[in-house]
Symmetry: C2
């Protein structure tokens, strides 16, 4: 498919990623640095992150960012422990982070309110400064992505990831990481320049009905987000897996021509991913590899070349642009309106 | 399909579940009670559980058991933070639990060793008393499932769940929960009595290639385990979802006849699951509901009746028998040898 000139919200908002992430750093950077200093003094024994949908995928990235730098356990909350199972919550001096684009996810608001009542320092990460989530938390990080009209989250997801990265860098005084984050808008722009190639590649998957999406480390978040986008906007049954978990069972279903998408930025996980790619190749799978690294792209059946320069710790908001473009074009090629996935609304309420 | 008289390891080992869980309670009960007393005195700020594959699904159950009773955050570890990303680990006074049937999963052993070196109280849950994992930990809980020859875990998974339940009951002095756990072998026996009906139901899914498996709360573990079994032994792309997350995106791919398996024991999540079942019915999905409760079974296209009496907190090792039988018979019906899934071995090593 050729790059489209249509005015779908989804494509327009994907293309806004570099401006949105620049705006976030410009408008919220100072506040996040101050918050980082407060968190350093607070020195919590653990961090809990609560989110749903795409926000939960940003939370997975946040878990890796914080866990590798802080060393304290980072829990992805099961909100139903509080909302349905009425469990106790012993979170005194913990830090609890709630992530919701709209700030209206009822179970995330309920979780953060309970955490605050039990002595946690609470932080809302949201695109809506006047939302219930923002009002519930001690501190807010506004993602400044601008109005998002696409039902499938695009720039708000990317900016949630950038916000969590900024928070991690500020909290741990990781200046090198801070510099890498500053390069995100430029790297996102370079990925947008690959739009035509990604649109062309998408055509091959017109009749794909199921697939696996795998990665390891930071980009497990990207694998989960691509799988969610494939489901929401392309109606493809897409199974997100840690590439380590893939070897613990699910690889059994991979045979000749089964499509497996691997997110493979450079970094310490690349050797493992090359091993996985070789095993998939031996099974004659349809391996689609998103990477800047020629040595792993050579192991793919279909390479999707991503411009180099993204350190693994900031790969998710950069590779995130590529997977959004891929899902967008596949949706169009399948004759689906990606702005109106059946059965979904912009705000989902669950308890 | 009629119940088979074949001697497949998988079926034989599923049928051993009641004896295996009785043996665990008989042989390990006293040690677990003593460990519970030690944990109560230890009073950790957080608990970290590390596992892969089916053991990781038992870990999900353990997270709900401990989080609802202790209130402290329970983290499911990302072993790669330690093994590949070389992150620091600040886990002093935390409790770290490693779960591995064989006790040989290299990344789980590495994670537990690192946690021990950094001041955590470490516990191995394993079926192999003389394994590397057992040697690495301060304390061991042996699952006493007996030798397991099926590549797809059956009785060892169920006994991991029972062991975590016993640990939770001992740790929190939850006597009512302890009584519920004591009833597990009897309830498992009653599920085994449904074998013929489950075998018959499986036939309908001979040509199923993809599905969703959903649940909420404790039985999210069961949903994940059914999905893994469908992948390992039936080569079906099975997507496990919290039924809350199902509404945040993936429901878009559910249309007329798409199969969705719901695990729906009685308890506080049933109202939510009935709401989900109604929404699936409105979309004309093929909803298969495993439950003892007539009011939700009525909303299914295909009911799988589970004998009543299992409180929601002990439902996973009980409903776990039903989902293993379902996967076993579907594997046979599809002409697959469930004892030899392609590409898998009994012990998987990843770093």
């Amino acid at each position: 498919m050729s790059p489209t000139k249509d005015l779908s919200h989804m494509l327009r908002e994907i293309r806004e990623a570099p401006q949105a992430s620049t705006r976030l750093q410009d408008l919220e950077g100072a506040k996040i640095r101050a918050l980082g200093a407060r968190l350093l003094r607070w020195n919590p024994p653990s961090v809990i992150i609560a989110a749903r949908g795409s926000s939960d995928n940003a939370a997975v990235y946040g878990k890796y960012v914080l866990e590798t730098r802080l060393g304290v356990p980072i829990t992805l909350a099961a909100p139903s422990v509080v909302t349905l199972l009425k469990g106790r919550l012993r979170v005194r001096r913990a830090v609890a982070i709630g992530i919701s684009q709209s700030g209206k996810s009822t179970d995330i608001v309920a979780f953060l309110a309970a955490a605050r009542a039990h002595g946690a320092l609470t932080i809302a990460v949201t695109n809506a400064a006047r939302s219930p989530l923002a009002r519930t938390a001690h501190e807010t990080v506004i993602t400044h992505a601008g109005d998002e009209r696409s039902v499938a989250a695009t720039k708000t997801y990317l900016n949630q990831a950038v916000a969590l990265a900024l928070l991690g860098a500020a909290w741990t005084g990781d200046e090198r990481f801070g510099q890498e984050i500053a390069s995100i808008p430029r790297l996102q722009q370079r990925v947008l320049a690959c739009e035509a190639e990604i649109a062309h590649t998408a055509e091959r998957y017109r009749y794909m009905h199921a697939c696996i999406v795998a990665a390891r480390g930071y980009d497990f978040a990207t694998a989960r987000e691509l799988a969610l986008k494939f489901m929401e906007t392309c109606y493809v049954v897409a199974l997100p897996l840690s590439s380590a978990d893939l070897l613990h069972g699910p690889i059994a279903l991979v045979d000749h021509d089964f499509p497996v998408f691997l997110i493979a930025p450079p970094g310490p996980t690349l050797g493992h991913l090359m091993d996985v790619a070789s095993r998939l190749r031996a099974r004659r799978a349809e391996t689609v590899i998103l990477s800047s690294e020629p040595q792993i792209l050579r192991l793919s059946r279909v390479p999707i070349r991503i411009p180099g320069g993204a350190a693994d710790a900031v790969a998710p908001p950069v590779y995130g642009v590529a997977i959004q473009l891929l899902a967008y074009y596949l949706s169009r090629i399948k004759g689906i309106n990606p702005d109106r996935p059946r059965g979904l609304r912009k705000v989902t309420r669950t308890l």
